[in-house]
């Protein structure tokens, strides 16, 4: 009996010890706070390069030949400027926002649903485009947009863009659909074989559809939805949910689903169609009459970048026709530089409708939905991204 009590007491001592370790660790970790840093001014002139630069980007944006010896636009940059490049890739916009908070990166390539958050969080600094000679060559319709500029101040250099298209199986649809209604109001015709992009930002696709089919809602911009408009989009998606076979966010998963016929209609990217066409699958893509959502990526500089001069060198280099052509072709999107198409392989620019302003104007580029409506309305409060993510989980159920 005595042994048991002693063991119990010892157990209690051990418990207290563990508890105090836990407490110590927690207090050590629990010092992060939510303050927002004020953004400084843009650089006015450039100095000596620092010899290195650290870059955070989507996969396929910063290739130094380590994945494929033939794909390398980093080495020429290093030779030209003497800035040694270290890079890290990320998988989602949210991951990018998180990684930028570490302060370890000088440059980031961010999509429109991350840029505004980075600016508001004080993670990136204004960019003086006068210091970037190649900025001149960027398509005008990509400059000074709400996802890369605030109050006329540019926060980065556009990189490439693309649309979320409608993909369909040509055996199920002998005639090309012209409207998104095949995945919304007429989704029941292919119930269980409809697919959609698995991200809260997909709510904007429903909003684009409602802009044309329920004009009485008065949606001006699919990323600026007030409570009522947002609810209509969510309801539409909840109805669509009954006919969804599966959602996709991994593009290889969608390729396989269209190859096997498990999905016959749904949103897609041009690069997916390129792969499917290569394997002879009976699929086509179309930009429906309502328009579509899309992405437009921006190269930005961290607010506390240690290597500002090298960062500017990179922004200039990646905006040059040659580098821009290589990087955007490798990823599968339209380039931002007007002359990039001369350096891309035959037909690749046409496949992505590069420079087609008419086509580009039908694309609603991903933008972070914030409470302050991005369409300029001031009389209502818009639904912010946190609520979009909550609603998205509810839609999936």
């Amino acid at each position: 009996m005595m042994r048991t009590t002693r063991t119990a007491r010892r157990g209690a001592t051990v418990g207290v010890a563990i508890g105090s370790i836990a407490l110590l660790t927690l207090t050590a970790c629990g010092t992060t706070s939510g303050e927002t840093a004020a953004t400084g001014d843009a650089a006015t002139e450039l100095g000596e390069t620092e010899g290195q630069v650290s870059i955070l980007a989507w996969p396929g944006y910063v290739e130094d030949g380590s994945n494929d010896p033939a794909v390398d636009w980093v080495t020429p940059f290093e030779e030209e400027t003497g800035c040694e490049v270290t890079s890290k890739t990320y998988g989602t916009s949210d991951e990018a926002v998180n990684l930028m908070k570490t302060g370890d990166y000088d440059v980031v390539a961010a999509s429109g649903d991350a840029t505004l958050r980075l600016i508001a969080g004080g993670e990136v600094q204004p960019v003086n485009t006068d210091l970037i000679p190649n900025y001149e060559g960027i398509y005008d319709f990509l400059k000074e947009k709400e996802w890369n500029s605030v109050d006329g101040q540019s926060y980065g250099v556009p990189h490439g863009y693309g649309a979320n298209l409608l993909m369909y199986n040509t055996e199920v649809f002998p005639e090309a659909p012209t409207s998104w209604d095949v995945v919304f109001d007429r989704a029941s015709e292919n119930s269980g074989k409809v697919t959609a992009y698995d991200s809260p930002i997909y709510i904007a696709d429903a909003a684009v559809y409602l802009m044309h089919h329920q004009p009485e809602l008065g949606i001006e911009n699919p990323y600026a939805l007030d409570e009522e408009q947002f609810q209509a989009a969510v309801d539409l998606l909840k109805e669509q949910r009954q006919h969804i076979g599966e959602y996709w966010s991994d593009y290889l998963k969608e390729i396989q689903a269209f190859e096997t016929g498990d999905s016959v209609v749904g949103t897609t990217w041009q690069v997916i169609q390129n792969v499917l066409a290569g394997s002879g699958a009976p699929t086509e893509v179309v930009l429906p009459e309502e328009g579509a959502t899309g992405w437009s990526d921006t190269w930005m500089i961290a607010s506390d970048a240690a290597n500002v001069n090298c960062a500017y060198e990179w922004l200039n280099y990646i905006a040059s026709p040659e580098a821009n052509a290589q990087a955007t072709e490798y990823f599968g999107e339209a380039p931002s530089n007007q002359e990039a198409c001369e350096f891309r392989s035959e037909g690749s620019c046409e496949a992505f409708h590069a420079g087609d302003e008419e086509y580009a104007s039908q694309i609603w580029y991903w933008t972070t939905p914030i409470a302050e409506c991005v369409d300029g309305r001031t009389d209502v409060e818009c639904v912010d991204y946190a609520q979009w993510t909550a609603a998205w989980q509810e839609i999936k159920g």
Partner: protein, 317 residues
Amino acid sequence: MTTNATAPAPVRGPDRDDGSRSAIRRPRATPARRTSVFLSTHPRMRLALLLSAPLFWLGLVYVVALAALLVTAFWSVDSFTGQIRTEWTIDNIVTVLTGSLYQTVTLRTIGVALLVTIIDVALALPIAFYMAKVASPRARRLLVIAVLMPLWASYLVKAYAWRSVLSQDGILEWLVSPFGLSTPGYGLPATIITLSYLWLPYVILPIYAGLERVPDSLLEASADLGGKTWPTVRHVVLPLAAPAIIAGTIFSFSLSLGDYITVNIVGGANQMLGNLVYTNVGAANNLPLAAAIALIPIAIIFGYLALVRRTGALDNL
């Protein structure tokens, strides 16, 4: 209840007989010797030295991680900048407890975990019984290898294999279409099938170990007394094997409860608790809510383990 730890050191063999202790040469007092003398007279010190390293490790990686998870659930996230606000709030817990989404998904997850467990036990019992009682030693070895074999392949490969098996033009469709049936396609049935396959070895092995311990003589006695197959199974085998079966269900139930990859690959548009945690960490960048959701399966498993503890099944793990 004494252990060797505090028992006096046994007297050396040769010294015991001659009775005179003076014959023993006093050992030289090397530092190692002195330490060992010190430790043998201070059992608590010895225990502390022995356990501090593993306990520190257990405390740091296990208890602290769990505690950090618990604490995070009481924080919140700034919706725009995405930074964590370390002010105490129970909003997340309330959301998780009252939100219809979380209730639906929790019920769905428990349903899937229960069905997977039932299917696995139903499949594992006959296999384990055959292995333990019927098969020749040679066949038994081969069967053990066969059961363990799938564990050598990656979880992802197996899940994707089922994705292609269950697809519209997959092998299952080809097999059953002559009989007028069709593949269930991607969805909850596909998830249950795949999870049952994935966790089957973890259920077979404990049941096999448990049945092996059932003495053959009892089965023979039952037969001698006129017990037919079913009464023997019901009154002799099952009561003796019950703890082992429950040990097996702990594996399949808890592994299914936390899974999110399989349902992502073959589950169609369905989500389970794991997916909610995953999207809240990744897409939504809401670690506090993810932590609050993660508490649901933890609570369920603790409840299940508390129930199971009474049966003594935990001794069979």
